[in-house]
């Protein structure tokens, strides 16, 4: 059974959100991965919204660090046809 660490983007580049345990079928093929809570999310340097030095407090991860480019935040497109997903408010 292999333990796979994986990363996620959170701000600039959060990594290691949770550990994932991949199960082997016995035929050597990896199938669905089962996450474990043994590993934790690690937050990236910079502002929570990806802009270092913007609203970072002294205690925030990355406070005082420089040289990180701003995160490219996505635009939205007007319209687009039949919806695939819905966002009705959480």
């Amino acid at each position: 059974m292999a333990v796979l660490a994986f990363g996620a983007f959170f701000g600039l580049a959060a990594v290691n959100i949770v550990g994932v345990t991949a199960h082997d079928t016995g035929a050597g093929k990896q199938i669905a991965a089962r996450p474990t809570a043994t590993a934790a999310p690690t937050l990236a340097p910079g502002d929570f919204f990806g802009r270092p030095g913007d609203v970072v407090s002294a205690n925030a991860p990355g406070a005082g660090q420089a040289g990180f480019p701003p995160v490219a935040q996505p635009p939205l497109l007007v319209g687009g046809g039949a919806p695939m997903l819905s966002s009705s408010g959480s």
Binding site: F9, F10, A39, F48, D54, P83, M84
Partner: protein, 317 residues
């Protein structure tokens, strides 16, 4: 009068992109919808387990969850898992970035307006008592003590954590990261409106998303990243005959009275989008637009009369 409304997708007729399949399951108090390449259906189980694990740790509705045990220990330092510690660190970070408009310590305020049980129970058996006296104090995050070296957390006495939307957004981000690490191909994860995408749907430039309006739905498209919506359209209930909703304004400790139907925000991550949408909603259209612009974020404000106001970078599809 606005009727009570449960969380989850209210929009019918969603289409599944060609070459993809849809998987739906319940977790984190809502319906989670997952779009995967049709030949990667086996990945759904891993995502379901992952989101379920976030739910198990971060829910406030299970007294045995790690979060609930921490809430019960308010006033005393408590060692927590590395997992929960980092989620709490993110929560405080988000509170700082929004000057407390996002406040993870509003549990007592939510309980005071009746949201002291899971939402299905709230709809089935609405609370019959009104709270007496002043609303619970807010801003407890400023006195939240996180000791990274000892991995301890101390909640101020009387303060409780509700990680609701942030935990859901982080779980969606984790699910996308999980799929990316497994070279899954295009995918989308939608947890009751907090959604993130990976790649693009086959043959298309963006993912089309329906956003509920007061009289139906309108569509936007997201080429990458994530989108979250804060809205009074969902999670409304009655308390002693009065309508309440879950968007607490930390400046008052009560349900926000801003004249907005919803705010949807696109961001690089679902956690960012979730926090920004909540802050922008509480600020209202004008100040909220300035807030989004200050962070390079794009958003859509829907007003109760059905009109809309856009903020940030909008492109023609």
């Amino acid at each position: 009068m606005i009727a009570p409304a449960e969380p989850g997708p209210a929009i019918e007729g969603l289409v599944t992109p060609d070459g993809m399949s849809r998987h739906v399951f319940e977790a984190m108090g809502t319906a989670v919808s997952l779009l995967l390449p049709a030949d990667r259906n086996e990945e759904a189980a891993g995502v379901k387990a992952l989101v379920g694990e976030w739910d198990a740790i971060c829910t406030r509705f299970n007294p045995q969850s790690e979060l609930s045990r921490l809430n019960a220990a308010a006033g005393r330092p408590r060692v927590v898992s590395a997992f929960l510690f980092e989620v709490l660190w993110a929560a405080r970070w988000a509170a700082e970035a929004t000057d407390g408009l996002f406040d993870p310590t509003l549990l007592r305020s939510l309980e005071a307006i009746g949201y002291d049980r899971d939402f299905a129970s709230l709809i089935d058996a609405p609370p019959t008592r009104r709270p007496g006296g002043a609303p619970p104090s807010t801003g407890g995050w400023r006195r939240l003590e996180l000791d990274r070296g000892r991995r301890t957390v101390r909640l101020p006495p009387g303060v409780g954590l509700d990680l609701g939307g942030l935990a859901k957004g982080m779980a969606v981000d984790a699910a996308i990261a999980h799929l990316a690490a497994r070279d899954n191909g295009p995918a989308a994860v939608d947890a009751g409106g907090d959604l993130a995408v990976l790649g693009r749907p086959p043959g298309l430039d963006a993912w089309t998303i329906a956003i509920e309006t007061p009289d139906g739905a309108r569509t936007v498209s997201l080429p990458s990243g994530a989108l979250a919506t804060s809205s009074i359209a969902r999670r409304r209930w009655l308390q002693a005959g009065s309508v309440r909703h879950h968007l607490i304004d930390p400046r008052t400790g009560l349900s926000s009275t801003v004249s907005l139907w919803s705010v949807s925000v696109a961001a690089a991550t679902c956690a960012q989008a979730e926090v920004a949408a909540k802050a922008a909603f509480l600020l209202g259209p004008e100040a909220g637009s300035r807030f989004l612009a200050g962070h390079g974020l794009t958003g859509l404000f829907l007003l109760p009369d059905g009109s809309e106001q856009r903020a940030g970078r909008w492109l023609e599809s």
